[in-house]
């Protein structure tokens, strides 16, 4: 018998009797073909499963946090225990989508607060209650821009995360959308001159990342000017936004990004959570679930899902997106994390990350390495390494260091270059050790 299934033989007999049949098999009389038996292992007890899975977990090499110098969309940060403690409360974990608002006020208020925090971070007017991840959020933003503008062409900076770009391509496959890539200048910023040239009457949107995939802080003010009249989509990072003016201040139309840095472990890339914010005027074209404030029959404040007519329950094929299950638990995790850090904690983490990254850059420069771009950066930057860097990278990994990402995986033009990252988890010692090892002839 199975710990999760309560039925005793006696109860099964009683239930069959009420139904008016003799055997459980009769319930399946409508099934036409006899299936082959499942070729699966027998079920295991909990203790055997734990032992097996612990062994599997040990086959994954966990790098000590101070030795992680790779970001590229997934970042190692400190996560206070309290975040896990609260976000793993079963009332959050085992609740369904809040279809019955009166018994889901915990979910609804937490998500309403999350939306408010995302608006505050991004400087936008309205945020939804989460997307799957940053990449799909961007892809949905591109589709939304298409709905807004009814135009075909999307200009996307080459300094947007390559997996995000791939995801946009896939999402847009079947739509009447065409992408053109905007290169970067030697400062590592999206080339505005080229951008200007690529804009035509059929251009719907411009997509940039802030700070961009190369770590450089794009000049959103200039971009907004150059992209006048177009839907401006900005991919961004939450900690950077505690130092940088939010995209909303520059007139961005849609702001998306990955919420993983806000209290979510790296999780081998998932689940993270996408955030998605826009302007009120576009709200009915926005994908995803929205929570709004309202009153109950006794005038007490409460929260409900709003604008559901945009969703697929009602509009079906005319829905603004097909998103139903989203990443609510991770959104609430983000909100808990931001509540713990507060404005000061957010800023401190960003400043510490900035300091560590710039110290790393300084040490690399002192050791004779060169930075590929000269634009201002936050906590990531591209550095030119020795030849055969991918081998060095692997070697360092085997020494317990997750060294900067070999960029040629994604960009053939960046041979032997690497995307370096530092956050508050790195230490003076770990930074100096990395630079020391990179300087030696270790391959």
């Amino acid at each position: 018998m199975n710990p999760y299934i309560p039925h005793t033989e006696d109860e099964i007999r009683q239930m069959l009797e009420v139904i008016g049949i003799e055997t459980v098999e009769e319930l399946y009389r409508d099934i036409p073909v006899t299936s082959k038996n499942l070729n699966l292992p027998d079920g295991l007890d909990e203790f055997t499963v734990v032992s097996k899975l612990k062994n599997l977990s040990l086959k994954n090499m966990v790098i000590e946090k101070p030795n992680i110098f790779m970001g590229a969309g997934v970042y190692a940060h400190y996560i206070p225990q309290i975040v896990k403690f609260l976000s793993s409360r079963p009332e959050f974990v085992t609740a369904y989508t809040p279809y019955q608002a009166e018994v889901s006020q915990g979910t609804l208020q937490a998500l309403f607060e999350y939306q408010t925090m995302v608006c505050e971070l991004t400087g936008m007017e309205v945020a939804n209650s989460s997307m799957y991840d940053g990449a799909s959020a961007l892809a949905e933003a591109v589709l939304m821009a298409h709905r807004i503008s009814n135009k075909r062409k999307v200009l996307i900076s080459r300094a947007v995360h390559p997996e995000y770009i791939q995801t946009c391509y896939t999402y847009a496959t079947a739509q009447d959308i065409e992408f053109e890539t905007v290169p970067v200048t030697k400062s590592g910023m999206t080339d505005l001159a080229v951008l200007k040239k690529l804009i035509d009457d059929d251009t719907s949107a411009v997509v940039v990342q802030y700070p961009n995939f190369f770590g450089i802080v794009e000049d959103l003010k200039m971009i907004r000017e150059y992209a006048d009249g177009l839907v401006l989509i900005v991919v961004t990072e939450p900690f950077a936004l505690s130092l940088l003016e939010p995209p909303g201040s520059f007139g961005a139309d849609i702001v998306v990004g990955e919420g993983q840095p806000l209290g979510v472990s790296m999780n081998y890339g998932g689940p993270g959570v996408g955030f998605f914010a826009t302007l009120e005027k576009y709200v009915r074209k926005m994908p995803g679930r929205l929570i709004g404030e309202t009153k109950d029959s006794e005038e007490k404040t409460g929260y409900v899902m709003i604008l559901q007519t945009r969703e697929q329950h009602i509009r079906r094929e005319k829905a603004t997106s097909n998103i139903c299950t989203n990443h609510a638990l991770m959104a609430v995790t983000n909100a808990i994390f931001m509540s713990i850090l507060g404005p000061q904690g957010m800023r401190e983490v960003a400043e510490r990350s900035y300091t560590n990254a710039h110290y790393l850059a300084k040490k690399l420069l002192e050791s004779g390495f060169e930075l590929v771009f000269d634009g201002p950066f936050y906590n990531e930057f591209i550095v030119r390494m020795r030849s055969e860097y991918d081998k060095i990278w692997r070697k360092l990994f085997n020494n317990g260091i997750l060294a900067p990402l070999p960029l040629e995986w994604y960009y053939s033009e960046f041979k032997d270059c690497a995307l370096a990252c530092a956050t508050e988890v790195n230490t003076k010692e770990s930074i100096e050790k990395l630079v020391d090892l990179l300087g030696r002839d270790i391959v």
Binding site: H7, Q175, N322, P376
Partner: protein, 479 residues
């Protein structure tokens, strides 16, 4: 009280390690520096604990009670799975680590894929999609890629029964298809004749859930598959209702070409107030070249992600998917085994039929005969007689410490309730639910106001969602 109202300037719940390096002052162009500090709440750790504890207490959840939401498969979420998903070796790995260094994670994904292929009768599978609807989009893009690869460009139509989940048409539309709805028969099944009338060389795919949303098994599925395939179209399986048939029949054996699963339904991963979920997509061999990148493969005793798929539709999100959710499903399958999964389906169907029998004594069931894992109550007569709406009944159920069933879906039955008890509920709970429903039916006759103004015992009374949408308040107004 909203968290921002609890904020007191200067309060702190966070402390970084002492500084080792002298702070480097950020140098950004002046106009790019943040002018106004973030207005996030400022709280102590105990403040935050009490805030979220109070919110948690206002939520219904599976750990608290019965969740008979039709089509949602709200089964018990084993805590063992949560424990495993909390192991550092799974949470603290970066997706760009060398794949040799994450063999445990890759083995989990590979074996999960193999298990799911076996359960569904598919040949290959992607674990990337983050949710059921995300899987649908992935699957429909594969349909599209398949026809285009054959230069079969006319096929712009996706057939979808009127009983389908709302995401089916939405996903089909996102994948560029025109959606044509097929009406169900009186019995709630696919109308074979109508289907045949629709089939032509513009049809790309038929999307089906089997058992369907009325909880009925499409008896003619083999015939349906034949006809669809004869017409050159593909057959798509929405796995939302797989919980009824594991170990009994595999979608692949019924003739389906593409399957998406909901690991957060059938495979016990928790729903987390709306997600994260996971929506793997399985395909028959002839479609595997179109799957998103990467596919997890095995070479000797090594596991690796294969990115070399020139005909792939690309990727539908970053990295490998919701790995921790995959892990939970893997642990669930290991725990249940073949017998356990089969028993899960059997008991899910037994529970549904038992509850159906109990309820049929005082409410009309939408379809006659045996149901699968769920069934639909047709409340139209009840509504006419009492003037009490099904929504009111749903709200009144909350007063008895239970969650309400799915209401007003499927759209083909008006004033309906769709009830799916799942296998993890016990007989006592089903008896109690039926008794409560019967009592509410009585109340509707004798004291209808009590039902119409329900709920009465919840943290808030009935909420006004019409004004909420008419004059939407999207966020708290920060001062």
């Amino acid at each position: 009280m909203i968290i921002f109202e609890k904020s007191v300037p200067g309060r702190k719940a966070y402390r970084l390690p002492d500084e080792e390096l002298q702070r480097i002052d950020p140098v950004f162009p002046e106009h790019l520096k943040r002018t106004r500090p973030l207005r996030l709440p400022e709280l102590s750790e105990p403040d935050v604990v009490r805030h979220y504890t109070a919110l948690a207490e206002k939520n219904y959840s599976v750990d608290k009670g019965f969740y008979p939401l039709g089509s949602c498969t709200m089964k018990y979420n084993p805590k063992l799975n949560e424990y495993v998903a909390g192991l550092e070796g799974f949470t603290d790995i970066h997706p760009y680590q060398p794949w040799e260094s994450v063999q445990g994670a890759l083995q989990v994904m590979y074996e999960l894929k193999e298990f799911l292929c076996e359960i569904t009768g598919m040949d290959e599978m992607t674990l990337q999609p983050a949710a059921g609807a995300h899987g649908e989009l992935t699957g429909m893009l594969i349909v599209r890629a398949y026809h285009l690869s054959r230069n079969d460009k006319k096929r712009h139509v996706a057939l979808v029964p009127d009983s389908a989940h709302g995401t089916n048409p939405a996903s089909a539309a996102m994948a560029g298809f025109d959606v044509v709805e097929i009406k169900s028969t009186e019995d709630g099944l696919v109308d074979l004749e109508q289907l045949e009338n629709h089939l032509n060389d513009e049809i790309a795919v038929l999307m089906l859930t089997n058992p369907n949303t009325l909880g009925l098994f499409e008896k003619d599925i083999v015939k349906i598959a034949e006809k669809v395939h004869q017409a050159g179209a593909l057959l798509y399986y929405d796995g939302a209702n797989l919980n009824a048939i594991m170990g009994k029949i595999k979608p692949g054996e019924m003739g389906f070409d593409i399957v998406h699963l909901n690991l957060h339904k059938t495979f016990s991963a928790p729903h987390g107030m709306g997600g994260p979920g996971s929506g793997p997509v399985g395909v028959k061999a002839f479609l595997s070249e179109f799957l998103p990148i990467p596919i997890i493969r095995k070479d000797g005793d090594k596991y690796y992600p294969d990115f070399k798929l020139p005909n792939s539709i690309g990727r539908t999100r970053s990295f490998y998917g919701n790995f921790l959710v995959l892990l939970k499903a893997y642990v669930y399958i290991l725990s249940m085994g073949k017998d356990g999964l089969t028993r899960a389906s059997e008991m899910a169907v037994l529970n549904a039929n038992y509850l159906r029998s109990l309820i049929s004594k005082f409410l009309k069931i939408a379809s006659p005969g045996i149901c699968m894992h769920e069934f639909v109550v047709d409340g139209s007569q009840f509504v006419k007689e009492t003037g009490v709406k099904i929504l009111d009944v749903a709200k009144r159920i909350l007063d008895y410490g239970l969650h309400a069933p799915t209401v007003y879906f499927p759209l083909i039955v008006h004033e309906d309730m769709m009830i799916e008890p799942t296998e993890t509920e016990n007989k006592n709970t089903l008896d109690y639910f039926a008794k409560v429903l019967e009592k509410i039916v009585e109340e509707a006759k004798k004291t209808p106001e009590v039902v119409k103004t329900a709920p009465h015992t919840t943290p808030v009374k009935r909420l006004d969602d019409i004004t909420a949408t008419k004059k939407p308040v999207y966020r708290y107004r920060l001062s």
